[in-house]
Amino acid sequence: MNLTVKPAQQDKEIIVTFEGENVIVETVGFEGTDCVKETAGLLEALGAKDIKRTLKPEYHKADKKVKTERLRLG
């Protein structure tokens, strides 16, 4: 028997924090390198220089992980 399971959906969100002349751009819930593509336009429009990038593997793992449970039916 095939059963399609949809895991809890995660919102894709871009959080931009403003601190003086600096911006901190955080992305949550993206798959693969979509997050980098999504924020590239914003950083370019803001004339961003000296970008310090921190990848967040905890989200990366969370995106890929699909929680499955074997159910006993009947």
Binding site: I15, T17, F18, N22, T27, K52, K56, L73
Partner: protein
Amino acid sequence: MSHLDEAKTTMKDTEALVRALCSTLSLNRNQIEIHEKAQPIIGYHGTEDRKVGNVIIRKQHSKIPSDVGWEMKDGVLVGHLDTFQYGGSRINYGQAFQVKLTESYNFEKTKMIYEAKGLQVVVCRDSKNRLQLRAKLAKAATQAKIRL
């Protein structure tokens, strides 16, 4: 994947600068001049300072006895500001003002970008009381087929 970028910024957009000036200096839009071709800025002595600006606040509205302006140079808006602290003046256009203006510019520009994309934008403050803009995109649609 998710990530965190931290970067310094530069002002490049006239419209975002005008919005930032309105909010930082509590001005109306019609108190700020916008020129396609840069115009002379009038200094303290009432004479042209040989500086020009594409965005100008005349002294009637600048709250100091001279004009202040921003000139578009090589795609970047460069400020021509009189940073002298005048007696009785309510404002100083020094470093603190410029940092505050850049922050406001970044906020306005980011808001313009995400609103133009039709995204849901929420403005709030974080735990350190920093201004924050949150743009929500469509939910990630992932699913898996399981054979039982």
